[in-house]
Symmetry: C2
Subunit: 416 residues, 2 copies
Amino acid sequence: MSTDLARPDLAGAQADYDALVAQGMKLDLTRGKPSAAQLDLSSAILGLPGERYKADDGTDTRNYQGLQGLKELREIFAPSLQVPVDQLIAFGNSSLELMHDTLVHALLSPLPGAERRWVDEERVVFLAPTPGYDRHFAVCDRLGIELLAVPMTPDGPDMDVVERLVAEDPSIKGIWCVPKYANPDGVVYSDETTRRLAAMPTAAPDFRIMWDNAYAVHHLTEDAIEVADVLALADAAGNADRPFVFGSTSKITLAGAGVAFLGASPANVKWWLALTGKRTIGPDKVNHLRHALFFGDAAGVAAHMARHRELIAPKFAVLEKILTENFADTPGVSWSSPKGGYFVTLTVPEGTATEIVRLAREAGIALTPAGATHPGGEDPQDAIIRLAPTFPPLEEVEKAMTGVAVCVKLALAQQA
Amino acid sequence: MSTDLARPDLAGAQADYDALVAQGMKLDLTRGKPSAAQLDLSSAILGLPGERYKADDGTDTRNYQGLQGLKELREIFAPSLQVPVDQLIAFGNSSLELMHDTLVHALLSPLPGAERRWVDEERVVFLAPTPGYDRHFAVCDRLGIELLAVPMTPDGPDMDVVERLVAEDPSIKGIWCVPKYANPDGVVYSDETTRRLAAMPTAAPDFRIMWDNAYAVHHLTEDAIEVADVLALADAAGNADRPFVFGSTSKITLAGAGVAFLGASPANVKWWLALTGKRTIGPDKVNHLRHALFFGDAAGVAAHMARHRELIAPKFAVLEKILTENFADTPGVSWSSPKGGYFVTLTVPEGTATEIVRLAREAGIALTPAGATHPGGEDPQDAIIRLAPTFPPLEEVEKAMTGVAVCVKLALAQQA
């Protein structure tokens, strides 16, 4: 027996881990995907619109045109996205592509208020509240937009840092925000954070907030939290063109076949539609109609989301239970207890996250790579692991999380 | 009575026109849109996929992923688009957006074979066989890509001109092609034209053919014309990465809710998917499944297109009849008699096209603006009018075209 294994906690942890590996699991906690049972909640949508194809205003949804998207669907989602109906665009099946394309438009055509196209700037930098969403960061990487990490607090990005940076540096053109139940840490932006984001002076005249309200109605508790209205606050502060608001039904109806939304000031909407009108004749309005018929109204969305909650809240509860049982008294181990959204952030002692993910992988449990929550895929503390419990069935979540706890304990024992 | 009106033909033409105006028509021959009766052919698709949501390979089409699109749908369209299944991508509802986005990718990331991103080139020029499709030209205008008109012949672009230009000038990065039943003149590229396009030496190492096979299966006669296989010819000539092939079901199923396709060499496909993978998690696979179930196989597409033909061939026939009756012996007036596609090109004596469109508009008949078929919206001869007969019911097409004939006669009499 080696010296290391002679330490009782390491020997025990290793034995537990070996037993875990011996189980030959094949489980996955990597991505924020809805489960089959969640998708089944929207089964009816697969047969819609059926006989009907006319919109309320008589539009034949089957034909070309209608660049802004079907009005009755925009009316249903305007309240939860906090965007006036006329300033809301309903588009394709992906909000990520709306974000990407908005940045492409800004690279190739001056934004309202801009002095030039972003491709003609020496540098374009976006602030990345960290930990954050890896796909946001990847869009910037792909488009040659630099990322500058800013710390998250329990109230959203550290606004003292953000305000100082944007006031000084005109190359900072934007910030990524997931204001509600943030990916990955579940943080909800305080009203004060939102107010400061909307009102802060920026050196760039064309600074934009990418307000990805991905979990607007994705509550895990009775406490249906609302964030402040960023469009209204920006308008009141004389910065009407600052926010672009995004949302989608990907985690409401069908993840691959939902509808994405973009909301902004009238000037931004006009700019976006003019450029997008060169790209396409219009979005899939039949899918818009399908969704409008399925929900009926905003209350229909809320009722539908309550059924999602019934399916996924127990999965978050089992994570909480296993983490509490195993690590309530472990120094350096903590986790988020989100009131909505799709993720739990597990914080482990510095330098152990990569090892934990490796141990889990070798035991057949796929976790999001450590660092994915950070720009460039590099977490300098190597301490953050993102857990996504929605996709597997409850019993698999429990098994996988029990396994993760074993991996965490082994990594901690190795480090001790 | 004025001297002009004293000329018998002018007086008669003016009287006929006054009578036309008095009818207070409101008819539209502007855009290549399918009619409601054509859309009704695909009514069944509105209730699909119904209970089913799994693809042949077990993929849950409702969830995320599947960037290349559903294989069973790609298999159905691979033959008519002349693209190997593995090199075919099924995507969103618009081929125009695939073309736009491909150029955006080329602007922001080097194409296979390119020395640099196109935004880093001093100029990027595309050849525009003219007359051509206004939305192709608008994409270039929007992206800062210059257009250089090249003449069309009955066999496609004038290849002597094209070959000379692309051999000399490295800033010429591409050419727009609608190889079959071209918009607007119905021309079908000869095999020799396609071979020369695929094989010609180009000064630019990253020259691309934008092969918009929009009317691949849109035959108006028994003669189901096939063009040469541009991907195979380019590969054989050592220029595998030259063509990007596009197509869609917009004028097969639902104009606003169909599926668009992109085909290219393995290297181009890999490049395109890698960049697009940063933009979206994947296209709407439920809509892919809907289409695959609706058609069943490639023969299903052909059978479906025969029903379209029954609806629209009579509309083209009535245009032909009215034009022949009125202008068979009129010098300077000629028209295309396309064997497929969506358009008829009417050629009128130099300097009269704008006036004819104006006269028609004032008589309540909307025609595509003269010049729309030319880069920059400027037809130096002012002689080309694009007619689109598919959308209105047959009796309206007949009325509208009878009216257009009156307008042509008045413009000719005025010019005489």
